[in-house]
Amino acid sequence: MGIRIGDPSFETRVQEGIENDFMLNSVASAQGRFRGRRGVATEELGNWEDWRSLGEEIRSHTLENIDYYLQQLSDNVSKRGGHVFFAATADEANEYIKEVVKRKNGKKVVKSKSMVTEEIGLNKALEEAGSEVIETDLGEWILQLDGDVPSHIVTPALHLNRDQIKETFANKRGYDKSNTPEELGLFAREELRKDFLTADIGITGCNFAVAESGAVTFVTNEGNARLATTLPDTQISVMGLERIVPTWEELDVLVSLLTRSAVGQKLTSYITGITGTRLAGEIDGPEEFHLVIVDNGRSEILGTEFQSALHCIRCAACINVCPVYRHIGGHAYGSIYPGPIGAVLTPLLDGYENHKELPHASTLCAACTDVCPVKIPLHEQLIRHREIMVEKNMAPTAEKIAMNGFVKWSTHPAAYKLSSKLARTALKPWTKDENITNGPGPLKNWTAQRDFPAPSQQTFRSWFKERQKGEKSK
């Protein structure tokens, strides 16, 4: 699959989003709950800003010395019996993992939720190689059964409601019970337990690797990542190159920032640190362990003004407060990374060409920047994207025409004066009670959603002239 999802046209995707009432209701209520929980969890600490500053400081230092920490990590993983593969591209990562799976005769692969494996399109690669790949995170499993793609980086099936999920279970797995989340969850437990017990390979992502000891850690609630790293004999963990902390002490800070920002939990049910292979005498855990460290465009962000985008710890707090995400849903972004961080990161990883609209899918209200636990200046980076696209002459055509027109018009006083006078008359046919409800031409997109105020009876210039007269006469 890779980073791109859905119809290639941004407008088509947005249209699909704003017409999907089911999805928008789910998103709105989820955003409300996420915000409430996050608010409580961050305020109760009383010094959340200190936590954020510390998070930023740790991430900056780590990224500035990323080559050092990755070297330390790989040395330590190797010492503990693990293999480390550095993959410059998605293809290199997929090829390596396919080779391991083939060599181990891995017919059945259980996976825990991992955005980086979505990004590199790993499932497709493994299926082409003849393996059965089973997503075991509840949300991801629902999507896999449905042939759907994630719309949120923490709760990937956020856009679906219980009736749709029940329908999917019934059609694909013969489910015949109710639509209550408890029964749906229990069904997933029973179905997937069989797969865990018979899987040859477990594949996971990695929330943070710990350089000082070579641990990979998983921050989860369901327990599927634990099962995937306990039962199969071979474990493959895949991480973006930036997902690393110097020591266990920094792990504490970043995990605390992550769980509070993501879901308002003090910690999730499971924070699990796996180091290398199982030791002598141990029954659980893999006898063969592979860590795949993925670049796939990240190194090109290092050393640029966007470097802090790599500080992201994937909590989705920015997504959960974004008014644009609320009104178009995750799929409209056309990337597995939606919302503000997706709009910043996707063009960096996959180029501007296919994602020109994303930096504009923002109101620049800065709510994202305010909640980011590692202080990424998200809205400022969106503005920089816009500037760069204009500099590179890549801005959308309509914007270019409008901007050029505006420049000519507004720098000619006579034209400006005339048109501001004429505007009210010209728009009269569409005006009702001082509002335009069904505007022509460029106004159409606006008025399809909401009213546009009719131009005032009095222009600013004439108002100002009168005011000055009044001042003088005083």
């Binding site: 306990t230 504490d252 499971y270």
Partner: protein
Amino acid sequence: MTIQNRESFLDNLANTLGRPRRKTGVERPKWSLSPQWEVYDGLSQDELVDVLEQQCKVIHTNFKRTNFDGLSEMLKSAIKGHDGNKVLAANDRRNKEYGLEVIFDDLKQEGVDVRLWDSAIGTENQVFAEQADIGITFSEITLAESGTITLFNDKDNGRSISLLPRVHVVIIPKSTLVPRMTQAVKQIHEANKRGREVSSCVSFISGPSNSADIEMNLIVGVHGPIEATYIVVDDK
């Protein structure tokens, strides 16, 4: 074990950062802030137990407290309360000290199938764990703030015990309580620095498994245990 493509990969990172490769000499700085150390700073062990008890309500975990003499009754009633017919316990050094060996013998007399993790019998441990109603472990470090118990899994304390059975029962010596994760990771970090190898699996566990993947509604009990009971034991 093998490390592939490292040099070219890391050279490239140094290159994009516009400086020579850093292979040695990077010191972790002293961070300018340390808010994590302020949480529940100065609380007594008993006050931390109160914090833990409150947090257990949030994480849907049964909280019980007893002393050394009361542990036997408390544990037996917890096992019965959870319909425990098959019970798997870690082969923990504290089983004897806390009287668990006697409790297990009593339970066996009553027909409960109680087994200890036995590295000699291989994957049979996992098979039994999967059928077991209850898995019993001891917490090494207990984080009051988040209601978290810590396991350093090894050959006598398999990862499956706290994972595959329907219910997880944890014995928490009061002396293991600390304010939060900060104190636990400091221990791990310092042991690692002294050259002691970190456990192949460090498990921080906070209550039963759960999910909010369906309409953000909380489901308690997904892939891991469906229920959890903590028993805090006052030290002798």
